[in-house]
């Protein structure tokens, strides 16, 4: 048999394809990210205060991660209103990122722009209520509006800066944020119930995909105290280490057939994808699998429903990974609601002005798609000498590769055509 190329996968932040080399009953499957990214070229030589705006290009949460690194570099403590604005912005990012993915899921069997194109190999599916999709897109728009108020723009925010934020909010902003938060919270609770009843529990729709299992792997996530929690695949604590050591603990393995390196634990070493001992994953499922009680009551109620339905974490199914996003939608809306008021977002000062400059800095953030870590070195003028970014795309590269291999192998054994396999893999890796 000839090499099979399955491309492009839908909805991937990093454009990706799969190459399958048939090898009797053991096909070699390569999950390939085909877009190079030149972070060093974008960052080195720039004044360090420019990085929050530059790195926002690789994901909105990098804007916040970079700002936290600047706070440390300049040894400044942002005022409370700035801390609250940043936290609300991060949660708005969680809401919009997760909701966009769930929108993709709900439109997966059809062309969301009309009936022009039917997706091959998927078969007939019951049509979802248009009202549900309208609600989804409406609340996606609302969460983006909240991001715009808090961050200046929703996809490439720019208002967080060393020591705080770059502008005061106005009274109309407080009122609008409160309206948005209230609406998003009501929606997220109802939406989670709809997903639960129609997808997760009854599996009335999307049944052929919701049975997908995810490779059981160790995970990394931040604790509420800010340390990194390393759990094994069974959910047992392996280690806990300070977040500033992330880049010391995590190595990146480059392969010449993909532009995205694989993250692995240095202590165990890179042993290839066939020996997953040193591999791990990050993101909503990793966070929910840590079995940490949510501080937000409605999110905790939803988490308990998930545990009741799927059993105690960790769980490794597509349903669990989607449910984790539904829980975090509620949690994000509750958090924004708690901060969307004048008391939290107003004050006499928006930032502390830096006076000193260290030579290196770091930060770690639980971003919508998983753990992010930044580390920079600068010269005595604050010009960037080195930049070291750990991104959820790297953290989940191994999981996506292993999952793609599993789904392709299963598909081939069922003698499915490449178009069907492409749809299955696109849905399978969507939550990561």
């Amino acid at each position: 048999m000839q090499t099979i190329t399955i491309e492009p996968l839908r909805w991937q932040d990093d454009p990706a394809k799969i190459t399958v080399i048939p090898n009797d009953s053991h096909p070699e499957v390569y999950y390939q990210v085909t877009r190079p990214q030149s972070i060093d070229a974008m960052c080195i030589g720039r004044p360090v205060e420019e990085l929050p705006r530059i790195l926002a290009m690789i994901g909105p949460a990098h804007h916040l991660a970079s700002t936290l690194a600047l706070d440390r570099l300049f040894d400044v403590e942002p005022p409370e209103l700035a801390r609250n604005m940043r936290e609300a912005l991060l949660q708005a990012q969680v809401f919009s990122t997760h909701l966009r993915k769930l929108y993709f899921l709900l439109t997966n069997w059809q062309n969301p722009f009309g009936d022009f194109r039917s997706v091959e190999g998927v078969g007939k599916q019951p049509k979802k209520s248009p009202r549900l999709l309208e609600d989804v897109t409406h609340h996606l728009a609302l969460s983006q509006e909240a991001e715009t108020i808090l961050g200046g723009r929703h996809d490439h925010p720019l208002t967080s800066t060393a020591g705080g934020v770059s502008r005061f909010l106005k009274e109309e902003h407080f009122a609008r944020l409160a309206e948005i938060a209230e609406s998003c919270l009501g929606f997220s609770v109802k939406f989670a119930a709809t997903l639960r009843e129609q997808l997760f529990e009854d599996k009335k729709i999307l049944s052929q995909w919701l049975n997908i299992t995810i490779p059981a792997m160790p995970s990394l996530s931040l604790t509420p105290e800010g340390t990194v929690r390393h759990l094994d695949a069974k959910g047992n604590m392996v280690a806990q280490f300070p977040a500033q050591e992330i880049q010391d603990k995590i190595g990146l393995q480059s392969e010449d057939w993909t532009y995205l390196p694989y993250a692995y634990l240095k202590e165990i070493g890179w042993q290839g994808l066939d020996k997953p001992e040193g591999l791990f994953f990050v993101g909503p499922l990793a966070r929910v699998n840590a079995n940490q009680e949510s501080t937000m009551p409605l999110a905790e109620e939803e988490r308990q429903r998930m545990i009741e339905a799927l059993g105690a974490p960790p769980t490794y199914t597509l349903v669990a990974s989607l449910w984790a996003m539904a829980i975090e939608l509620i949690q994000a809306a509750e958090t924004i609601r708690g901060r969307a008021n004048q008391e939290s977002l107003a004050g006499p000062s928006i930032r502390e002005i830096p006076t000193g400059l260290a030579s290196s800095t770091w930060s770690a953030v639980e971003a919508p798609q998983g753990l992010i870590s930044h580390r920079y070195e600068v010269d005595d003028k604050g010009i960037v000498k080195s930049v070291d970014i750990f991104d959820p795309a790297m953290g989940n590269n191994a999981l996506k590769s292993l999952l793609a291999k599993q789904l392709v192998t299963e598909g081939l054994s069922r003698k499915e055509d490449p178009a069907t396999i492409k749809e299955i893999v696109s849905v399978g890796v969507l939550p990561f």
């Binding site: 080399i21 190079p36 974008m42 030589g45 705006r53 057939w257």
Partner: protein
């Protein structure tokens, strides 16, 4: 209402992020369903469209091409989509000017790569191994590879300008929605022509003609500054012009259309709309602007001030190095 056949649209992303594609998706979800006006016949990100589907299309009416040209694959797809598309739109700063991926060109210009530092190599002739598109030696804007009919600038493009482009090229004069709000930042002649259903001239940029300063809300007092300020230092976040306070703000060299979005938020402009119509090279314009705003005629003071300015090329050409830097854009 819309008796004429629907237009066909393609959307493609080369090297960049997904923001421009999300902006197009937002038009569909937040402004008007695109299916009223068009059939989206090719969109790898949203529809998983492959090359086979592209090959089966005879023509495409409008192609929205996002992202810079970084790999052989980006270049090949640009050529293929150009061949099939009646109108090719460079959508977003990366496609229009090279964007932030284009900073790689400056790096190579300022510090030539070591002899052994070659782009990622893959064996394109290999039949049965995984193949990866090879990187080109430099990042290019779309217009440096194929002819571009229209440009939508911005990182990401604003919703109003993107929608005005879609109304002009896709919906036409029968669009049910009025175009006035979308064209508020377009030159008056262009807005009137679009409203009348006349296509703007080829090469038209869906933005203003003047500089960002023309629509920036900050107060210009024609005052001179005595020392440069970096954005982490203390300055007035509202009110006064940032350049007149001593910050390097590219508003004076940058095409308007955003409404002074960044400056209104207390952050200096970084030029994601590219140079304004009257400017030849944004870096040269900025050198002139800073020189004429600095309050000294003493040679030593001027030299001292000049030394406080950091990374001018990376700032002046943040989004435009491949196509608008007179030195770096030469092959």
């Amino acid at each position: 209402m819309n008796a004429s056949p629907k237009k066909t649209i393609a959307v493609y992303a080369a090297n960049g992020c997904r923001s421009c594609e999300h902006a197009i998706l937002d038009i569909n979800n937040q402004v008007q369903p695109l299916s009223r006006w068009a059939d989206i016949v090719y969109w790898p990100y949203m529809l998983g469209s492959g090359e086979q589907e592209l090959g089966s299309l005879d023509t495409i009416d409008v192609c929205f091409f996002t992202g810079a040209i970084r790999t052989d694959e980006d270049r090949r797809m640009a050529e293929k989509l150009r061949e099939k598309s009646s109108l090719m739109v460079a959508c977003g700063a990366c496609s229009a000017f090279g964007g932030m991926p284009g900073l790689s060109n400056l790096k190579d210009l300022l510090a030539p790569p070591a002899e052994d530092a070659t782009p990622a190599e893959t064996d394109e002739t290999q039949d049965d191994g995984p193949v990866l598109p090879a990187m080109q030696s430099r990042v290019s804007a779309l217009s440096q590879i194929v002819a571009v009919d229209y440009v939508i600038p911005g990182c990401q493009p604003t919703q109003s300008l993107l929608w005005s482009c879609m109304q002009a090229l896709v919906c036409g004069p029968k669009s049910g929605s009025k175009i006035s709000f979308t064209t508020s930042r377009l030159p008056a002649e262009a807005a009137q022509a679009i409203a009348a259903g006349i296509l703007p001239p080829k090469g038209f940029c869906f933005a203003g003609e003047k500089a960002v300063c023309a629509s920036c809300s900050r107060v210009k007092e024609e005052k001179l500054f005595e020392a440069t300020i970096r954005p982490y230092e203390k300055y007035e976040v509202t009110g006064r012009c940032l350049l007149e306070q001593g910050l390097v703000c590219l508003g004076i060299a940058t095409r308007e259309g955003c409404g002074g979005l960044c400056t209104g938020l207390g952050q200096p402009c970084r030029g994601c709309f590219g140079k304004s119509e009257a400017v030849y090279d944004p870096g040269a314009k900025m050198v002139s602007a800073i020189s004429s705003t600095f309050a000294s005629e003493d040679e030593d003071e001027i030299e001292e001030m000049a030394e406080t300015l950091e990374d001018l090329s990376g700032t002046f050409y943040r989004y435009t190095a491949p196509s608008q830097c007179a030195i770096a854009s030469k092959e």
